[in-house]
């Protein structure tokens, strides 16, 4: 199988993720789309690692995972807090930095 197919998959996933971020209003869904973009990137990095025959891309994807884990924690905490204060998870409702 041609290795470039992995890159195409990565591009498709990234596009789906970014479109999701742009068109969806629900903060949880947007969040999931962001995760999708991150994993698409990871896939691309691992593929590049494979193509180049070294481990750089794989190391970078580990970093991405760690950062993504942290980001999930912080992001979810923010979303929950916003939901508590506004009774809504829509990002368009949270357009002002005040109540």
């Amino acid at each position: 199988m041609d290795i470039s197919n992995y890159l195409y998959l990565s591009i498709i996933l990234f596009t789906i993720g970014s479109l999701g971020v742009l068109v969806r209003r629900n903060a949880i869904v947007i969040f999931m789309c962001i995760e999708l973009m991150l994993n698409a990137t990871n896939l691309a990095l691992v593929t590049f690692s494979r193509i180049n025959g070294n481990l750089d891309g794989q190391v970078a994807s580990f970093f991405t995972m760690v950062v993504a884990a942290c980001e999930v924690v912080v992001g979810l905490a923010i979303i929950v807090t916003i939901y508590r204060s506004r009774r809504s998870a829509s990002v368009d409702d949270a357009s002002l930095l005040r109540n």
Partner: protein, 629 residues
């Protein structure tokens, strides 16, 4: 060349006392005037002792120097804070401290009702210190400090009663006119540094014979501008009349006897420049002649006794400036006239002050009349000064002014006759306006309207007047007997060649002519002013109107300098508001418009930010691809 250790005290004492009186404030009110007078007297004592020390020496040892401190020492350029006293300086030292002390004494009584008398005496002492520095400095730079110092003291004293806005304006006017002259002096200092690499008198004197005539003429013209500012000479003469706003002792000391003669000192001190530049000398002569006639004409129409005397001062200093322009022998006569003038003019100013004291500060001579009966001492002392300024033999002015007229006639060259006639005419007009002042004040019938009778001034006031009157009588004879002053000053101003190549007129003829002019002026004035009305007549001739308006000096300054100055300022203001402010406002407007557009992007919607980021990433990626491929 001797060294002397006492010169610095001459300046330090009055300066210190002035600082003390100003810093202590009201505590010193009770005794401040006594301290100031004592200090001035001690300065006079030091001056006298210096004079006798100098007199006992011969040759170059008559010049004494004292190095006080190193001032500027940069590479080859060295200026030391050094003092130098020579035959020329000592004349001034004695005049300044002597007349100064008399006027201090006079002021004790004159200012006794003023609650700021202590401040007045502090300023007087400041003036004495600055004036002594002016004449004792051994370089142009040291002289410049004193030059500025007397300008400051003059400003402070003219505006002493600055609660009156008119007086405050007069003080500013004097200061600004002096600034114009001061610029001349600083340019002259820079030029002489550029030309000779030094600013000390001896250094410049050594270099002057080798310098180009253009440079010397430039320096001479700048020095003349400085002298014109300080000595109220044409074209910077307009401030002196208004300077009479100051208390009368100030007018006597600063604006008659000493400070206004600093210009004469400057030119006499810089004789090496003027000796080497006939063009500069011709400029000096022109300024002197114009001013001596200008002042005399203005003096004929003034009803304010102090302004009439101020115009006379201007005219008499014109004589001195004229004499300094006449070459080596002229310097000595200029200084002689300066000294005699110091006596008689200070005496007359004190007399005027005494009259004002007795007349509730009335200065209008049309409100005087017949005061000789009420103020006999003032009338006699004023009268002696009056005879001295007229040049009646054997009073002081006869010896000094006739010599100047004589020197003018025998100057040589085509213009000698013209200069001599102008000086002679000036003497005639002097007689006219001084007689006018004397007759209107002391003779005729009473024209004052107040109930209280005028009274003679106290001893503290008439004492100094008597001393100055004695000086007005005797100084001329003492200074000229055996050419005493000419011989005394000979080593300094190089007045050795007292030879007239061809005498245009003999001395006796000139004295006769001068006396005739004086008699003509006097009789005319007596006939015209025997009876005067208490109100100034309005239907007067055109020349009188012109003289009353100071020959348009203020109008001229107003039209030529002040109005265009205002116009330029206004134009600059418009440019500032439109161009400079406009540019700044334009920048602000552009930024505001751009931000009005850009702020629409900051809408708070997360998804629009996300779109911007993604678009941005795509743009970056595309650019990167376009650049690298």
């Amino acid at each position: 060349m001797r060294t002397s250790n006492h010169l610095v005290y001459l300046i330090a004492l009055p300066l210190f006392s002035s600082a003390i009186l100003l810093l202590l404030g009201r505590i010193a009110d009770k005794w401040g005037h006594l301290v100031a007078t004592l200090v001035s007297g001690s300065a006079f004592a030091i001056g006298v002792s210096e004079f006798f020390k100098m007199h006992s020496q011969t040759g170059a040892d008559r010049t004494a120097t004292q190095k006080v401190f190193d001032w500027i020492s940069v590479g080859s350029f060295k200026v030391t804070g050094s003092l130098m006293v020579d035959q020329l300086s000592i004349c001034f030292v004695l005049l300044i401290t002597g007349v100064g002390t008399l006027i201090h004494i006079y002021s004790i009584a004159y200012m006794s009702h003023d609650k700021d008398r202590r401040r007045f005496f502090a300023f007087l002492n400041l003036f004495i210190a600055a004036m002594l520095l002016l004449v004792l400095g051994d370089s142009y730079l040291n002289l410049y400090i004193g030059w500025e110092g007397v300008g400051l003291a003059s400003y402070l004293l003219i505006g002493f009663w600055n609660q009156n806005p008119v007086y405050a304006v007069a003080a500013k006017k004097a200061f600004i006119a002096n600034r114009v002259g001061d610029v001349g002096l600083s340019v002259a200092i820079m030029l002489s540094f550029a030309q000779f690499g030094t600013v000390s008198f001896t250094g410049v004197a050594e270099g002057a014979p080798h310098a180009s005539s253009a440079a010397l003429t430039a320096i001479g013209a700048m020095l003349l501008l400085a002298a014109a500012g300080k000595s109220a000479q044409f074209p910077l003469q307009s401030w002196l009349g208004d300077a009479m706003a100051g208390p009368t002792p100030v007018s006597a000391l600063i604006h008659a006897a000493t400070m206004v003669t600093a210009g004469v000192y400057l030119i006499a001190r810089s004789h090496f420049i003027f000796d080497a530049s006939p063009t500069a000398r011709m400029l000096v002569i022109s300024v002197g002649v114009i001013t001596l006639l200008f002042g005399a004409i203005v003096g004929t129409a003034k009803d304010d006794i102090k302004k009439a005397l101020a115009a006379s001062t201007m005219s008499q200093i014109g004589y001195m400036i004229l004499a300094t322009g006449l070459g080596p022998v002229g310097y000595a006569f200029a200084i002689m006239h300066l000294l005699t003038h110091g006596f008689f003019k200070a005496g007359m100013f004190l007399g005027a002050g005494s009259v004002m004291h007795g007349m509730n500060d009335e200065v209008n001579m049309r409100k005087y009349g017949g005061l000789a009966k009420f103020m006999p001492i003032t009338a006699v002392t004023f009268g002696l000064g009056y005879l001295a300024i007229l040049g009646v033999p054997p009073f002081a002015g006869f010896y000094s002014k006739d010599k100047i007229i004589e020197t003018a006639f025998n100057f040589g060259g085509s213009k000698a006759g013209l200069i001599g006639c102008a000086a002679l005419l000036g003497a005639g007009i002097t007689a006219f306006y001084m007689t006018r002042v004397f007759v209107m004040t002391f003779q005729g019938s009473r024209r004052w309207e107040t109930e209280s009778e005028p009274h003679e001034s106290p001893f503290l006031m008439w004492g100094p007047m008597v001393v100055l009157a004695i000086g007005s009588v005797a100084s001329g004879y003492l200074l000229s007997s055996g050419s005493a002053l000419v011989n005394w000053l000979q080593p300094v101003v190089n007045a050795s060649h007292v030879t007239h190549e061809k005498e245009l007129l003999s001395p006796n003829t000139i004295s006769g002519l001068a006396l005739a002019a004086v008699i003509a002026g006097t009789s005319l004035a007596i006939v015209k002013y025997r009876r005067v009305s208490a109100k100034a007549p309005t239907n007067v001739s055109l020349p009188t109107l012109a003289a009353r308006a100071d020959l348009g000096q203020d109008n001229f300054n107003d039209r030529v300098l002040v109005k265009p100055g205002f116009a330029i300022t206004r134009a600059l203001l418009v440019i500032d508001h439109s161009v400079v402010d406009g540019a700044v406002r334009l920048v602000g407007w552009v930024v505001q418009e751009i931000s009005d557009v850009l702020k629409k992007l900051q809408n708070g919607y997360v998804r629009s930010y996300a779109l911007m980021m993604i678009v941005g990433v795509f743009i970056c990626a595309f650019t990167l691809w376009a650049v690298t491929s």
